[in-house]
């Protein structure tokens, strides 16, 4: 990687911060260095507040980047994201980025299936934009609790060839798990690759389905992260080649290399 792509500390300014749905927001930062350097599937380690009782940074996928700006979709789950939701335009923060190993784009792909559950949509904006630039047709299977939690639908409607949705409560699309959509989509589109992000049990199901269909699958895993840069070993993922660090070796892993049992849900609460 050339040095412009190496992680660095960048002071950033909130440009806008809107509520998108219950407990969900979209924040846009002025962050020229990171916006120029970041690749799809990478993340930033954000210092949300100084002087707060919580001290660690919070990792967030970058949903979209461009024109010096970074866009992040976030769900309010605790003290950090609550403080993020309260940030106002003009507020300063800082982040470390770009971080991690993002999505891989193997040559020769014609069709990609993108599967996102809940905030697993976080790293998918840059992904589908890149796929579009590569001329790969993408189908998005998006799942959420309810219709209003299907975030950024307009962007995906514009960029993907096809979008299908599933909700837990049936308020939009299929009633049930987003992974329920996979069989039909795999049959219909014969994708060359499956990209997955969401709650870990859902990722595991998606990975299994992809494996059964014989399609390569990449998953973006969440782990608790203290440093975000590879030194603390908080974020390890059990893989076929031993323990790997989600923050530098991931967060995107080849699903076939993840040793799902043992790693698994325990690592994050949700």
């Amino acid at each position: 990687m050339c040095s412009a792509h190496r992680p660095a500390l960048e002071s950033v300014t909130v440009i806008s911060n809107q509520r998108l749905a219950e407990h969900v927001g979209r924040v846009v930062f002025e962050a020229p260095r990171t916006a120029a350097a970041i690749r799809p599937g990478q993340f930033v380690h954000l210092r949300i507040a100084r002087g707060a009782a919580f001290i660690l940074r919070r990792p967030f996928s970058v949903f979209r980047a461009g024109a010096g700006k970074l866009e992040i979709l976030y769900q309010v789950v605790g003290a950090g994201t609550l403080a993020l939701a309260e940030a106002k335009p003009g507020d300063g923060m800082d982040l470390i980025g770009p971080l991690g190993h993002g999505w891989e784009f193997p040559g020769g792909m014609a069709h990609a299936l993108v599967v996102a559950g809940g905030l697993g949509i976080g790293p998918m904006g840059m992904l589908v934009e890149k796929l579009a630039r590569l001329g790969v047709a993408s189908t998005l299977a998006q799942g959420a609790r309810s219709a209003d939690q299907l975030l950024a639908r307009d962007i995906f409607e514009d960029t993907c060839r096809h979008v299908e949705v599933a909700t837990d409560d049936g308020s939009a699309g299929h009633t049930g798990l987003v992974t329920d959509l996979m069989d039909d989509l795999v049959a219909a589109d014969a994708p060359d690759i499956v990209y997955v992000c969401g709650p870990e049990p859902m990722q595991r199901i998606a990975a299994t389905k992809a494996a059964q269909a014989g399609i390569p699958c990449q998953v973006s895993l969440e782990r608790l992260m203290a440093c975000g840069v590879g030194v603390c070993l908080s974020c390890v993922v059990e893989t076929t080649s031993g323990l790997q660090r989600a923050c530098v070796d991931g967060p995107v892993f080849d699903a076939s290399e993840v040793a799902w049992a043992g790693a698994g849900e325990a690592a994050v609460r949700r």
């Binding site: 500390l9 070993l233 908080s234 325990a266 690592a267």
Partner: protein, 310 residues
């Protein structure tokens, strides 16, 4: 222009360009943070704990945040001393910084084996014997909580190392000065403290311990008052220099440790919060001395002691 401050301090045979180190386990072997600043800015770089054989560490989750602190139960995951020498030390050979290797073991023999292996490595300036890790079942803290066990481990390592020998003490003890004196008597050149406080968090939604291992080590600003108190106690009871750590975030925190009696300090958890922390502490310390007309940072050591007060 700020007046020149002599920032050098001495730890055993080692002269450091300034009193600020990284704390073991919070800086890897430096490569990751070399993106952020010149490692030669550091007084010394302390590596993560290194064992003789590779260690797998504990199950996940290994980390939990707590008020003004964090718990970790990494469990000293590391590739073993051979891989460490082959990879980390080779990389460090080009970094212009004194290297202190944190040494761990499940038994006295294992500590000895690692220290012996490192003794021939010119890149290594000192070894820090970690008898205080709370996150492993055998060894670690078991040595650091008993005077006899601590003395045994240090005596054995002393016999095989010509390097400056630092012993890292546990705060999870009734009387830290007893242990400090016991290991000083066995030839420790310096003492570092504190390692993490043993703590636990329970996830109230699952009603299970948050960490897979149950307990973990508490670090960060929450523990600073405990660290400062223990450095005060230990530095006043031993002759060897003390390296103070625990919750140092900014230069003023380092001043607290120095004034309590530390000769040098280490920055740990703060680096996760801000990779530039150690450098900011160095710059801030220099500034602190300059503003107050303190010529040598070493003059801060023990400045708060009653015998220095009048």
């Amino acid at each position: 222009m700020t007046p020149r401050v002599d920032m050098r301090v001495r730890i055993g045979a080692l002269e450091l360009r300034n009193p600020v180190m990284t704390a073991s386990g919070t800086f890897g072997s430096g490569a990751e943070y070399a993106d952020f600043f010149e490692l030669s800015r550091l007084g010394a770089l302390v590596t993560k704990g290194v064992s003789f054989e590779p260690w797998r560490g504990n199950d996940s989750p290994r980390m939990a945040e707590t008020p003004s602190g964090m718990l970790n139960s990494i469990g000293l995951q590391n590739p073993g001393v051979e891989a460490f020498c082959a990879k980390d030390l080779v990389w460090l050979a080009d970094a212009d910084v004194p290297v202190i290797v944190n040494v761990v073991g499940h038994s006295v023999d294992q500590y000895v084996a690692v220290a012996e292996r490192l003794d021939s490595e010119p890149v290594v300036s000192a070894v820090e014997v970690n008898i205080s890790c709370p996150n492993v079942d055998a060894g670690g803290i078991a040595f650091g909580t008993s005077c006899n066990a601590a003395a045994d481990a240090v005596r054995a390592v002393r016999a095989v190392t010509t390097k400056t020998l630092i012993v890292k003490l546990s705060p999870n003890v009734t009387n830290v000065t007893e242990i400090a004196r016991a290991v000083e008597a066995e030839g420790a050149d310096a003492l570092s403290l504190i390692n993490t406080l043993l703590g636990m968090k329970i996830d109230t939604s699952s009603l299970r311990p948050t960490l897979a291992r149950g307990t973990g080590g508490l670090s960060g600003p929450a523990i600073r008052p405990v660290g400062v108190r223990m450095v005060w106690e230990v530095a006043r009871s031993v002759q060897v220099p003390v390296i103070g750590m625990g919750g140092i975030m900014v230069a003023e925190d380092a001043v607290e440790y120095l004034a309590a009696g530390a000769t040098a300090v280490a920055v740990g958890t703060a680096t996760f919060v801000d990779p530039m922390s150690a450098v900011s502490v160095i710059d801030g310390l220099q500034q602190f001395c300059a503003v107050r007309g303190i010529d040598r940072v070493a003059d801060l050591t023990g400045a708060a002691w009653p015998e220095r007060t009048s």
